[in-house]
């Protein structure tokens, strides 16, 4: 497998007049094509900063990032941020609109996604008429509409209630797995990380660096979050990660 993205010795600090706050120090890792990578760490450890650097919203102060310049990146934020003044359909084609790419082919693709994710009948409704889980799925379609090869997921499920969170994260995990996309998921939820990801990186406290790496694989198919959670492997992974994170505090 080819690395789709590699980070080498990335450092980033926030500046204000009182001084600088190092957020990321000397961080290196690679992401393979088709891999689902989860990144966990204590809160405020610069996880979101990392995604902003990968997506190009922020520029690393030191270090290098390598990826194919033609790589399209999709970014999914913590809140769905669907615009209330647009219908669901108008919301999900926002990315196409911004890239001036509203072609028949692309809108057909979006309509197909709406059908696949069970939102087709809601396409002309306003976001407030949808439940939290449906809204998050709509946000995923908005991200997928531009056909990204690499998905950056910044705690996309943390605003949902527990039950919705379980089903939506499993849903979205399956969607990403089935389409063969590469994904980086940022989360503070250990269970979420080990049910969804192929590999988990544990970050240290700020300034953060990669502290531990865990490869995750199960003997069973990853279709149901609940059956994953009942396996012995899950328990072992969970305990390992828990220990790694607790050592820090």
């Amino acid at each position: 497998m080819q690395p789709i993205l590699s980070l080498e010795n990335i450092s980033y600090s926030y500046h204000n007049l009182k001084g600088e706050t190092p957020a990321i120090e000397d961080m290196s890792f690679q992401v393979m094509e088709g891999e689902f990578l989860a990144i966990v760490g204590p809160s405020g450890c610069g996880k979101s900063t990392l995604l902003s650097i990968i997506s190009g919203l922020l520029k690393a102060e030191r270090g290098n990032i390598y990826f194919d310049p033609s790589l399209t990146i999709g970014y999914m934020l913590q809140h769905d941020h669907l615009f209330e003044w647009r219908t669901i359909y108008q919301n999900v084609i926002l990315g196409l609109e911004l890239n001036k790419n509203v072609t028949k082919e692309n809108t057909d693709y979006v309509l197909q996604l709406l059908k696949d994710y069970g939102l087709y009948s809601f396409k002309d409704q306003k976001p407030s008429q949808l439940s939290g889980g449906m809204r998050q799925r709509a946000a995923l379609i908005r991200t997928m509409a531009v056909k990204p090869e690499l998905l950056l997921l910044d705690e996309p499920f943390s605003a949902l209630d527990f039950q919705t969170r379980m089903t939506v994260s499993a849903d979205i995990g399956n969607i990403i797995r089935n389409t063969g996309k590469t994904a980086i998921l940022i989360t503070h939820d250990l269970s979420e990380a080990i049910t969804l990801a192929d590999r988990v990186l544990v970050l240290s406290k700020r300034p953060s660096r990669v502290k531990y790496e865990l490869n995750v694989s199960y003997d069973i198919e990853r279709t149901s979050a609940l059956s994953i959670r009942n396996t012995v492997q899950y328990q072992t992974y969970f305990n390992t990660l828990w220990k790694e994170l607790s050592d820090d505090t």
Binding site: L57, G74, L77, H79, F83, W85, R86, E97, L98, N99
Partner: protein, 272 residues
């Protein structure tokens, strides 16, 4: 008979009872509102007729109605009300346009707003009536001066509140636009402006009143027509009927213009 009546009461569902109580509440409010007006007018009429207060200084509801009727007959009502209304609407439209345009520009170019901030603050807190004599010297007496006076009262506050509103837009929404490959211009047209429509409308509600204030100040000083002129002229020749009638017409105009913008607001909410 009694049994039947009881049965009816029992048949009332909770929902119907709620609706009934709701309606009753609104009827009581409407009645009390009207009552205040009737009592006010009644006391006014009675005290002037009975000679407790001087009719010459305080006028009376009946003489106002008579004066209004006379104004309509000699068509001075339409002339003066019309000109005030037109001047107010023109300055309101110009304020709406300029404040939206400038606020957008300030948001788009952050450093511009930083540079201009002290000037905006000074212009906003300056009592605009102080500018009116200067405007007369510059622009002469006439509608142009009055419209500029109307604009000057509303425009600076309007720019500041629109700009502040624009800046309060959730940073995450702007981030979303950037992550989807959009620019700051996209953020302006896809996020800032559409999400600010309620703000823009509520800002209009404030502006229409302020424009009216500016227009009346202008007419006090630099007009031969309009309700502001009638008020000043009437007070100078001790025609208090003229003054009070003009004030009442002004009340009606202010209310009417406000209601128009309010219905625009309702229409927008319904569209959502």
């Amino acid at each position: 008979m009694t049994l039947n009546k009881n049965k009816n009461i029992i048949n009332l569902t909770n929902q119907q009872a709620y609706i009934l109580a709701h309606k009753r509440h609104h009827h009581i409010i409407a009645f009390l509102r009207l009552l205040i007006l009737v009592i006010f007018l009644g006391v006014w009429e009675y005290t002037t007729r009975a000679g407790y207060v001087d009719m010459f200084f305080f006028s009376s509801p009946t003489s106002i109605v008579k004066y209004l009727y006379q104004m309509i007959l000699d068509s001075s009502f339409f002339k003066h009300t019309g000109i005030t209304l037109i001047e107010t609407i023109v300055s309101f439209l110009l304020v709406s346009f300029f404040s939206l345009f400038i606020a957008t520009l300030l948001w788009y170019r952050n450093s511009l707003s930083e540079i201009l901030e002290p000037y905006l603050v000074v212009l906003n807190s300056l009592p605009k009536s102080a500018l009116a004599p200067l405007l007369i010297v510059w622009l002469g007496t006439g509608s142009r001066t009055i419209i500029v006076a109307g604009i000057s009262v509303a425009v600076f506050g309007s720019i500041i509140s629109l700009y502040t509103g624009f800046c309060q837009t959730d940073e995450e929404l702007l981030k979303l636009i950037l992550t989807l490959g959009g620019s700051r211009k996209d953020a302006l047209f896809k996020v800032i402006l559409p999400s600010s429509i309620p703000l823009i409308i509520s800002n209009m509600k404030v502006n229409i009143g302020l424009c009216l204030v500016g227009v009346i100040i202008g007419e006090f000083l630099a007009a031969r027509r309009g309700l502001g002129y009638l008020i000043i002229y009437g007070s100078q020749v001790f025609q208090l009927n003229m003054v009070i009638t003009s004030i009442i017409i002004l009340c009606a105009i202010a209310m009417g213009l406000y209601k128009i913008i309010q219905s625009l607001e309702h229409w927008y909410k319904k569209m959502q």
